[in-house]
Structure formats: C-alpha cells, structure tokens
C-alpha cells in the first residue's frame, strides 16, 4: 500500500511538471496553423495547462473563464475528419482561455450517453455533442438543458437540436451536401453513379447518398462497401461492383478513404470513372490536384470544433446566441483542382 501511494505521488508530480512544461510553446493564439501547437495535441491532458495561461486572454475575466469547462462528446474516434474537429476545439479553448474535455464515443451511443452523464456530474459549463443516434441521445441532452447546462449540437443532429432545446446546431446538412454533389456529377456528364458507403448504420452517410439521388439526373446505386480499416476489402468490393455493371461511370465516396479506394478500383479496371468525394485528406487533395478526383465536398469541420465552444463561451459570459435559432452551416464547400493546392497546405497543417 505504501508503495502505491509513493507511486501515485510521483505520477502526480510528473503530470504537474508536464502541464507546466507545455506552457512555453502554446502561448500563441494562431489557429494551430503552425507545427508548434500540433506537437502538443497528442497529450490531451497536457493541454489543460493552457487554461492557466492567461497571457493572451486579458480582455476576459480570467477568474470566470478559468472556471468554465466545456465538454465535447463526439461519436467517432480520431479519424482524419475528427482530428481536425478536435484541433478546432483545442484552438477555440486556447484562444478563449477555457478548459475543454474531448470525449470520443467510438461509435457507441451508450458510451456517449455515459460520457454526457459523466460531464454533467462533473458540473460541466456547457456540452457540445454530435447526434449519430438521436433516440438514444436526445433524452439525456434534454436533461442537461433542464439542469441549466447549455447544449450545442455539432456535425449530425440538424433535425433534433430544437427538440433538445440546444442553443444551435453547427454542421453541414448531409442531404444538402449530397444534393450539391449530384449537381456536380450532372455538370460533369455522368450517367450512373455508384454511391459507396464505408459504414452501414450511419444516418449521415445514407443522407449524403439520398441527396445525391435527389438531384442527380441519371441512375444512382447506393451500396455499403467495407470499413475504412480494411481498405483492401473496400477496394475489392468497389472493383466488383464496377465490374458487374459496365454502365457505372461515376463514383461518389462518402468519406475520404473510400473515395481513394474508388480511385484505385477504377484504375485497376482501366475504367474512366468520374470520382467525387467527401471531406479532405492530403492524399485525396493530391488526387484532386492530379486529376484523378473531380471534387470533394468540404464541410470545414474545423469550424465544427471551434464554433460550438465559441457559442458556449459567449452564452456563458455574455448570454449571446448565434444563428437566431437556425443551424449554422459549415458546408458544403467544394475543393476542386482550382483550390486544391492552397487547401492541401492547410490540410497538411491539420486545420482543413
């Protein structure tokens, strides 16, 4: 027992030292555009040192903002998409001098409910949550609003934020994004688009394909391919689907990884397929620059991390609400060969 206590004290010492140590290079207010702030975000707890870092937040009442702790509960782990959301959140928290806790739910609604309850139990000053599974999450978030804790929904949840009584929703309406992609395929002259999904039970992905089907003038075939974790199987499934139907001349991947799988499958088949994608990775942006991919729908997810924290902060310190009860749309924006190079630079820095 005694040994354990010593170990715990030693651990606490090390953590305090680490927290102090990170002050040095995170004192700048830039949006994480430089590598300096990148290197700190791997240690989540290390960032809590920022809250004590009052040098750049003088105009705010330090005591009050120091007391604020916001929780962001999302349904995904740190994929290429969510890591940028996380960076947006971190930048907002560092800019505003508040404490933030990032809680990824690993696609498990139950886990998210527990995380939200845990945040409430800790006396959270505000909750930002994504809503992949509204039935499970709406009641607990309504409970939070009932307790007087402000809630902002992000990413998915555009249809439910009002029912919760959330301040606003920050995200992209997936259906509208899909519709915009459909218009792009129309303009490019495609006749039969394969809409490939990398997850089976994700409402947002289904909505993207449904949006495509709504505006696209030709045929749309929607199909689950395989998970992003197994790109080999994903590519094989796309390959088989394309080979089975010669009329397919377009492919929309509803995520960046599956989009690249589609590019490779079309290349293997030697087919001339117009490829469109969703979201950004350096690889996908490189493919857009190289002409293999026509466009990608950019929902500027950095904003989905930054704006909810900003809204919660303004509400808590100044009782402001943004958007007038309407959702705040962060997309769809498009990245094409015209702007790929500049976006690529930002993406490599991890903010796009």
């Amino acid at each position: 027992m005694k040994k354990m206590r010593w170990l715990a004290m030693l651990l606490a010492l090390v953590m305090v030292a680490a927290a102090c140590g990170s002050d040095g290079d995170s004192g700048d207010t830039a949006d994480g555009g430089d590598t300096g702030s990148e290197s700190t975000d791997s240690g989540d707890s290390g960032d809590s040192g920022d809250s004590g870092d009052s040098g750049d937040t003088e105009e705010v009442d330090v005591a009050q903002s120091g007391d604020l702790t916001f929780h962001m509960i999302t349904h995904s782990e740190d994929g290429p998409f969510w890591s940028v959301v996380k960076r947006g959140m971190e930048a907002a928290c560092s800019d505003l001098g508040v404490e933030c806790v990032w809680m990824p739910g690993f696609n498990d609604a139950n886990q998210m409910v527990q995380d939200i309850e845990g945040a409430l139990a800790e006396g959270s000053s505000g909750i930002a949550a994504s809503l992949p599974d509204p039935t499970a999450l709406v009641p607990v978030l309504q409970g939070a609003v009932g307790q007087g804790v402000p809630v902002v929904t992000l990413n998915s949840g555009a249809n439910d934020y009002q029912e919760i009584g959330a301040l606003t929703h920050v995200g992209q309406t997936e259906f509208i994004a899909g519709q915009a992609a459909g218009e792009r395929f129309n303009a490019a002259g495609a006749t039969h688009v394969l809409c490939g999904q990398q997850e089976q039970n994700n409402v947002g992905l289904t909505e993207r394909c449904a949006g495509l089907e709504d505006t696209f003038s030709g045929t749309v075939t929607t199909d689950f391919m395989d998970l992003d974790a197994d790109t080999t199987a994903q590519q094989a499934a796309i390959n088989a689907a394309m080979a089975a139907d010669e009329s397919i001349d377009g492919f929309l991947g509803v995520g960046p990884v599956i989009t690249m799988s589609g590019v490779r499958a079309a290349g293997d088949l030697g087919r001339d397929v117009i490829v469109g994608g969703f979201d950004l990775t350096p690889e996908l942006l490189g493919a857009i620059e190289g002409g293999d991919v026509l466009f990608t729908v950019d929902q500027q997810q950095y904003l989905q991390g930054y704006l909810p924290i900003l809204q919660l902060f303004l509400f808590q310190t100044n009782s402001n609400t943004i958007g007038g009860g309407q959702p705040i749309l962060t997309g769809p924006g498009f990245v094409t060969a015209d702007n790929a190079a500049s976006v690529l630079a930002l993406s490599e820095a991890g903010t796009r």
Binding site: E38, G79, D223, T231, A236, A240, A243, D245, L269, G270
Partner: protein
C-alpha cells in the same frame, strides 16, 4: 513405419477373421480425405465459388478472380498465422492493430525529415528495423502471457489498445496527421516496391497458344487424378492383363477425338456427337485400365434395394425435382428486387442450388448405403443419380438462354454425371480394396499430387495470360500482385512447419494439453512465445504489403480486423479451444470470406444483407467442421 508390412499381414488375417484392431482398420481413400480438418473448408470454398460463379457473370472471370484473391491475400497471411497460434491454444487480439502499426512504424521510419516529421531512414534499414520491432511485440505478447499466466485474450487485448493508441498518438505527434504518407523517392524504394508490390498486368502478356496449353494440362491432370484414385481404391491384380491396355488405348483415342471434335465445331448437333463419344470413350478407357491392373469383382451380387436406400434415393430425387420446378416456375427474365436481398433471378438461383445440393447429398447417402449391400446395387443407385444430374443439366441449359445461369454450368453438370456413372461402372466390375497396400498408396498419392499440381498450374497459366481474341472482346484488365505470391508462399511454409517439424508437433501438443506436454518435455513457454512471434511477423509482412500498396496508411488501419482473422481460422476448421486445426484451413477460410464479400458485390445483391450471408456461412462452416471432426474421431477410435 518399419513394421508396416508386418502390420499389413496381421491386419489382413485379422480382417478376414472379422476381429481387426480398429486402430489399424483400413480406411479407403475417400475416408482418409474426409477426416482431414480442412476438408469442410475446401468443400465450402468450392461451394461458395461455384455459387457465385453461377449467379454472377463477372465473378468467375480473371478480373473477378484477381479481385477476391487480392482481398484474400492479406487476410489469408494473417489467418494462417492466427490458425497456428490458435492450434497452440492462444489468441492474439492485437494482430489486427499490429498490421497497421507495423506499416505506420515503417512509414514513419522512412518519411523524409523536415517540418512534417519522419526519420528519413533508408528502406534497407527500415525493413529489418521494423521487422525486429515486430519480433519484439510478438515476444512481449508471449512473454507476458507466460509470466502473468493470464489468458492471452486479456494480455493481447491490452497490447491491442496500446498499439491502437500508439498508432494514433505517434502519427499525430510526428506527422500531425491521421494518415501517414510517404513518397517514392525514399532510398531503396524501387527495389522494395518490387518485392512488396510488383504487379503482373495480364493484358500486356499475350499468349495465343494459351488455351491449347491449358486444355492439355487440364486433361492430363484430370486423367492422372482419376487413375490415381483408382489405384488407391481397387485391388491390384497379381499379374496384369495387357489386353486391358488395348481397350484403354482405344478409349483414350476416342477421348482425344471427342476433344478435337469439340474444338473444331460450334454446331449443337456436332457437340452432342462429341459429348456422346466422350462419354463412351471415358467409360471404355477406365474399364480397360481396370482390366489391365485390377482384380475383377468377386461377388457382384444382384440388385437388392432396401427401404434405407430407396427412401433416401426418392427423397433426393424429389428434391432435385423441386429444383427443376423452381427453375420453371420462377420467371428468370424478371430482375426486380424483392424485399429479400436477392433479385427474382437471384432467389431462383439460390432455391435451385439449395434443392439440388440437398437432393444430391441425400442421393449420395443412398449410394453409400447401397455400398454395404453389394456392388451391383451401388452401381445401379449411382447410375440413377448420374441420370438425374444429367437431366438437371438439360434443365439448366434450357433456362440459361434467359440469363443468370452460365452456359458452362450445363457442361460441368454433365461432366459430373459422367464421372459418377463411370465410377459406378468401375465399382461393379472391380474389387474394392479392404486392406492397406503401401506401394499402391504411395504411387497413388504421388499421382494425385502431381495431377492436382498440373490442374493448379493450368488454371494459373490461364489467368496470367490473355489471348488476342479476349483483348478484342474487351476483357477487363487484371493486375496480379506479388501479394498473392507472398500469401501462397507464407501458407506453404507454415503448412510445412506445422506438419513436418518438431516445432509443429509441439504446437499441437501445447494447444492440446499444456501441462501434459510440459511434463513430457515440450518447451511450452518457448513454443507459445514463438507462435506469438510468428503472428507478429505475419502482421509485419501485411503491414509492409499495405504500406507499399497504398503509399499511405490510416491510423485506424487494421483495427478490428483481428476478429476476421479468427473467423477465417475457425471457418478453416481450427478449434477455438486449441490443439486441432491446420494452417491451410486458415488460408481457405480467408478465401471463403473474401469470395463472399466480393461475390455479393459482384452479383449486385443488396449489401445490407451481407453480414447475414457471412453469418450463415460461418454457421454452416462450424457445423460441418464439427460433423467432420466427429466422424474423424469415430474413424480413429
């Protein structure tokens, strides 16, 4: 091994007296084949392949084959290694994350230095360095399992989380990104790219003589297999009767003539003539071969049917009849999607397949029972089944014009019917062996292996080369990657290790009963640690293959795949409890899973139902494996 002949003599006399030591009881070639642990998986693989081949136009082509084989390669390498570990009685839940971790580690080592991280090492250094790290991970797993005496499920779960977190953490710390990429200008790239990602582009390798070569090899292989099976099934004559060879030669001449006839004409009538010549000459050749080499049957007996035979036979024929009824009742031209995963055509195909399969199996049970009555009865039952198969073939042919059944199915079914009929004829004329004959078995085994090798070689050649005619018809390009060679090579090495080395025997021993094996001197801890290192080494190999294929890896790459590896191993006949299974089974299990995934996409079924299908396959696989194991156990007892 030394006293085989003595045992032979003993068992021969004992058999005659009806009091054989059951451990030495003679098992026919079919019995011996059917107690192999991977036989369920092999039959399953053939079934799944045939199924998708029949319902999808693209699946059986070279493009489709390349597609599922490619998908099976990385899965298969891991499944083989995981099978070995499971035979050794342990699990490795970190194996999935490990594949991605090794790839990411490798990329981080070779990425150019500078603003966005990387060590900038030469690939020549990064390859052995990452391999050493893989060995360390495997050693750590094995060592922890041994030292803590905790279940490997728990220990490797911890390793899984560590690797998963380290992948993400390191990628973001060093590169500031979730996906790590590398460019082609790393030192040594050209060489190692060829080792791990070289590709064979089929469409740029034209060989117009391919089909002639293919058919020749295929026929030689088939003949060799047939004769080898005869050699292992019938009693050798004390002195060969050369007159039979004349008949054999005559049959072979007719055989060759029929093949030539098939190839020189396209007319339906001429093809039927050729088919008739083929059927007669095959039977003549086989009978001739038998007369030359084998003992005539002693007591053929008369036709005696009992209820046990007729019930099964009638049930089987009725089932095949239902399949025929389905074929006619359901409109094959209608391709609308049902509420079910299938289109009308797909549903029809499934129903037909199921009923034919069940009917055929029931009928075979009848034939098996007839065997215990007398050879003539068995011959008669087999002939009826062959006739039913041939009849079904014609139904398929009638409906193949309305699409969804490949025309080839007709010829394949007819060939099956012919094989069954010829075999039935042989059974009525020659004496089946009931005792071991070591020299005949040796010869037969060699012939069998050579025949299978020739068949495989023929198929490989057919897939690797393209003909001008195919190019003109606009065949889909297919790129065969060196990944498949790694898969085959790795499987072969592991099969050899498991079957022929001391380490292989130790693996079975520690998986069967660790304490007992330890007491008889097996170094259990070392064996298990080495097994963990094999899995980690396989994960490294897959990591390299992935890295060179994609030139980039997601931090999530491989996470969750470990269960696919375990499923593939289980489908391949490996027991979850350890001590039983094969390495080859894991490879075949991986092939089944890859075929299912690609086949469903290829047949354009609604992918929402994909996991239902996978679940059914998994269930069927484990049930049949169980049945086969029980049979094997009772055959040994």
């Amino acid at each position: 091994m030394t006293d085989v002949s003595a045992v032979d003599a003993n068992s021969a006399t004992a058999n005659d007296a009806g009091e054989a030591d059951e451990r030495l009881a003679y098992r026919s070639i079919f019995q011996r084949l059917f107690i192999r642990p991977e036989i369920g998986a092999i039959i399953g693989a053939i079934g799944v392949w045939t199924f998708f081949w029949a319902v999808s136009l693209n699946f059986g082509t070279t493009g489709g084959t390349q597609n599922w084989l490619d998908s099976a390669s990385t899965l298969g390498i891991m499944a083989v290694a995981v099978s070995m570990l499971m035979i050794g009685g342990e699990f490795d839940l970190s194996s999935g994350a490990n594949t991605g971790a090794m790839g990411i580690l490798f990329i981080l080592l070779i990425r150019e230095t500078g603003e966005l991280g990387g060590l900038g090492a030469s690939i020549w250094i990064a390859v052995p360095l990452s391999f050493a790290f893989a060995m360390a991970v495997g050693f750590f797993n094995g060592w922890m399992v041994e030292k803590t005496a905790l279940p490997s499920f728990i220990v490797t779960l911890a390793t899984f989380f560590i690797l998963k977190g380290a992948k993400l953490g390191l990628a973001k710390l060093i590169v500031g990104q979730i996906s790590v990429t590398f460019t082609n200008d790393a030192h040594g790239y050209a060489f190692w790219q060829r080792i791990f990602a070289a590709e064979w582009e089929r469409n740029s390798h034209v060989w117009n003589g391919r089909d002639l070569f293919y058919i020749g090899m295929f026929l030689v292989g088939t003949i060799l297999i047939t004769l080898s099976v005869c050699e292992m099934h019938f009693v050798r004559r004390s002195e060969p009767k050369p007159a039979g060879l004349g008949l054999f030669g005559l049959g072979m001449a007719g055989f060759v003539a029929s093949i030539v006839l098939f190839h020189t004409t396209d007319g339906v009538g001429a093809n039927f003539v050729a088919a008739a010549v083929l059927a007669v000459s095959v039977v003549v050749a086989m009978v001739g071969f038998g007369q030359w080499r084998y003992e005539p049957v002693a007591a053929a007996g008369g036709l005696r049917l009992n209820a046990g035979i007729t019930n099964y036979l009638v049930a089987g024929l009725v089932s095949i009849g239902i399949a025929v009824a389905c074929a006619f009742a359901i409109d094959s031209a209608n391709s609308e999607t049902l509420f079910f995963p299938f289109t009308v055509q797909g549903l029809r195909a499934v129903l037909i397949m199921v009923f034919v399969g069940v009917g055929f199996m029931l009928a075979m049970v009848a034939a098996n029972r007839a065997l215990s009555v007398n050879p003539i009865t068995k011959g008669a039952v087999s002939t009826v089944i062959a006739a039913a198969l041939a009849g079904f073939a014609f139904v398929v042919r009638a409906s193949s014009e309305a699409a969804k059944f490949r025309t080839e199915l007709f010829s394949v079914l007819l060939l099956c019917a012919l094989a069954l009929f010829a075999w039935a004829v042989l059974g009525t004329r020659f004496e089946e062996r009931r005792r071991t004959d070591a020299s005949a078995d040796r010869l037969g085994t060699r012939g069998l292996l050579l025949g299978v090798a020739l068949l495989v070689f023929a198929v490989i050649i057919r897939h690797l080369f393209v003909t001008d005619a195919e190019l003109e018809a606009g065949v889909n390009p297919a790129k065969f990657s060196v990944r498949m060679l790694w898969f085959f090579g790795f499987t072969a090495v592991m099969v050899w290790i498991l079957g022929n080395t001391r380490f292989g025997s130790w693996t079975f021993a520690v998986g069967g009963n660790k304490e007992a094996s330890r007491q008889v001197g097996v170094p259990a801890a070392r064996t298990k640690t080495q097994l963990f290192m094999i899995v980690s080494g396989a994960a490294w190999l897959v990591g390299m293959l992935l890295a060179f294929r994609l030139n980039s890896l997601q931090a999530s790459a491989g996470d969750g795949e470990e269960f696919e590896f375990i499923i593939a191993a289980v489908v391949g006949g490996t027991l979850l409890t350890g001590g039983y299974g094969t390495a080859l089974g894991g490879a075949i299990g991986a092939a089944i899973m890859a075929m299912s995934a690609v086949g469903i996409a290829s047949a354009r079924w609604n992918s929402d139902w994909r996991f239902v299908f996978l679940g059914v396959i998994l269930l069927l696989a484990v049930i049949s494996n169980r049945a086969i194991r029980d049979r094997a156990d009772s055959a040994r007892r």
